[in-house]
């Protein structure tokens, strides 16, 4: 288990404050956030390579706050692989073995198992300089796991890879995590990676944690407008709440359950906004009349903005739906939203 208590890191022009995190043994946890949110700083402070200003870090009940990196038993995988360029693939993978008091036969078995699992047998003798990005990342994962760390930290491990390698390494990470039963803590700015890999996640913004929870929880029920926006909700509006109703600029929207506060935000995914030509109301749906303000071709889908007078809703439509509805700019339409798709924040 990783426990982070009141972590604070001060750098020129950046402060990371009040980071509290608790990550379970064997969990796949992601730190999600935009560039400059401080995700990598949290990771490096756990690894012990970034000095912290205050706070405490425990791993498996051991206070590691003041331990040097080599005594923490924490592996790290970087976006740019950080392979030792003067060593071969095998020398990279076995680099750390001599510092760990494991039975040599056991560790040799473990390393060959890793090499096999990651499909590295054909290249073990090669220099790491001429490997593809995907191969390099496999080597760096094998190197970190070879010493059997209690935690594996992954700093944007997929960001520098070509799309075809990305998926491959993503699968590798998922499979490895299930097999090795080590806690994986991954930093990413891509919520698709989070959805595919993680069980729980923390969303960071400007040096602060905005929300912590299970992936489905965070995805379904973002706690703040930032999280909603970051997770791809294109419609986030300030609102007041009256019972199970949200009022956005005079528009009344039905909610599934009454929120606790009387003021806040509502967030709606663009794919949850249904566009219709007729006013057909179903139970539990809010139907609003509007005019199509803009249709933007996004390649695989179209983004349609509907102006309802004061509020502009953004919806995404497939090409087929767009043509079958015969939509064009300035046309009158109705938008329908299920109450369960309106998230009160």
């Amino acid at each position: 288990m990783i426990e982070i208590e009141s972590l604070r890191i001060e750098l020129p022009g950046f402060v990371m404050k009040d980071v509290e995190l608790s990550i379970q043994d064997g969990e796949f946890f992601t730190l999600l956030g935009p560039t400059g949110a401080g995700k990598t700083l949290v990771l490096e402070s756990i690894a012990g390579v970034t000095p912290i200003t205050s706070g405490r870090i425990w791993v498996k009940g051991r206070d590691i706050t003041h331990l040097p990196p080599e005594q923490r038993g924490i592996g790290i995988v970087y976006q740019d692989y950080a392979l030792f360029p003067h060593l071969s693939v095998l020398e990279n993978i076995t680099y750390g073995l001599r510092y760990h008091k494991a039975d040599p036969q056991e560790s040799r078995k473990w390393v060959s198992a890793l090499i096999e699992q990651l499909g590295l047998e054909p290249i073990v003798k090669r220099s790491v300089r001429y490997l593809s990005g995907g191969e390099k990342q496999r080597v760096s994962i094998a190197r970190a796991l070879a010493v059997n760390p209690s935690v594996l930290l992954l700093d944007e491990p997929l960001s520098a890879l070509d799309p075809n390698f990305r998926e491959d390494i993503r699968d590798v990470l998922k499979r490895l995590h299930q097999e090795v039963k080590i806690t994986f803590l991954m930093v990413t700015h891509d919520f698709a990676d989070m959805l595919f890999l993680a069980q729980r996640t923390a969303i960071l913004n400007r040096g602060k944690i905005e929300q912590v929870g299970s992936v489905s929880d965070v995805f379904e029920r973002p706690a703040t407008p930032f999280v909603a926006d970051f997770l791809g909700m294109k419609n986030v509006f300030p609102a007041t709440f009256e019972g199970a109703r949200a009022i956005v600029d005079g528009l009344k929207l039905r909610l599934e359950t009454p929120p606790g506060d009387c003021k806040g935000h509502v967030a709606i995914r663009s794919e949850d906004i249904i566009i219709r030509k007729d006013r057909i109301s179903e139970n539990g749906m809010s139907v609003i009349q509007g005019k199509i303000a803009e249709i933007v071709d996004r390649g695989l889908f179209h983004e349609v903005s509907v102006n309802t007078g004061k509020v502009v809703f953004r919806s995404t439509l497939s090409k087929r739906d767009l043509f079958s509805l015969k939509l064009s700019e300035k046309k009158d339409v109705y938008i329908a939203i299920r109450s369960s798709d309106i998230h009160a924040l």
Binding site: P68, E70, G75, I76, A82, F84, P85, Y95, R98, R143
Partner: protein, 264 residues
């Protein structure tokens, strides 16, 4: 149809300046090398005093390079890796020997080594003599060569991603072991280049040496003495031999450092 390429005037300016610089540097040197007759050169190299002074120049410069390597490497590492209060000041201090006029360097060192100074007094008690000794020559050459070593190696360390060291430590290697297993194997070429730079600077030192140790005579001092005593004709052959020996040595060192680069 032939397309006529228009050449920017800046191209001609660049060509002109390149030719000017190359001729400016090479012409005097080439003239000096070709002026002495073969007979002069032969006689000069048979003179044991000349051989002794060239050898003295080379090995005192080599020692300055070695000392810079030993005391300069950890310092360069610190400058490359750590930010600390007053770092800019320390960096300017290391550049001071480059800016100070050479005789001033000599005077400064002599001021410390004299009997009137407690340090000079202490050194004489333990038998270290600076004035007119090889120790003095090596001290001066290290003083003037060290900045070249430190700056070159610092740049070399900076090109090694700190993440490599982070990973090494996360795998269980201490700071020292990380230095010897990761940083040093990746930086040794920069160190070799640093030593070459330091030696090159040291071998050309004259101004500080004439003040601290006119004798035993290193090659630049001998060239100067022969020039003042006998004139151009007698100083040129010594200079030619010094240049020839240095060229060969630096060329060999360069080959060693470049060979590995293409290999890796």
């Amino acid at each position: 149809m032939k397309i006529k390429k228009r050449i920017d005037p800046f191209f001609w300016i660049a060509i002109f300046s390149t030719v000017t610089v190359v001729v400016f540097i090479l012409f005097p040197l080439i003239e000096m090398v070709v002026q002495p007759s073969f007979q002069d050169l032969k006689e000069t190299i048979q003179d044991p005093d000349v051989v002794r002074s060239i050898w003295l120049s080379i090995y005192t410069s080599g020692l300055a390079g070695l000392i810079s390597f030993i005391i300069g490497t950890p310092f360069a590492y610190l400058l490359a890796r750590k930010d600390f209060f007053g770092k800019k000041l320390v960096e300017s201090i290391i550049d001071l020997p480059i800016m100070i006029p050479h005789p001033v360097v000599g005077i400064a060192i002599l001021g410390l080594a004299g009997k009137n100074h407690w340090l000079g007094n202490l050194m004489q008690q333990v038998g270290i003599q600076i004035m007119g000794t090889v120790t003095g020559i090596v001290t001066v050459l290290t003083f003037v060569g060290l900045p070249f070593y430190v700056n070159t190696v610092k740049t070399g360390f900076e090109t090694i991603p700190v993440r490599l060291e982070n990973v090494s430590r996360s795998l269980g290697a201490s700071l020292t072991k990380t230095f010897f297993r990761v940083t040093f194997p990746l930086a040794w070429r920069a160190m070799l280049v640093g030593i070459i730079m330091c030696c090159a600077r040291a071998i050309s030192e004259f101004g500080a040496i004439v003040i601290v140790a006119y004798h035993p005579m290193i090659a630049p001092v001998m060239i100067y003495e022969r020039f003042t005593a006998y004139g151009l004709k007698y100083s040129q052959p010594v200079a030619v031999w010094l240049i020839a020996v240095c060229l060969v040595l630096f060329f060999l060192l360069r080959i060693i450092s470049l060979q590995k680069e293409t290999e890796a």
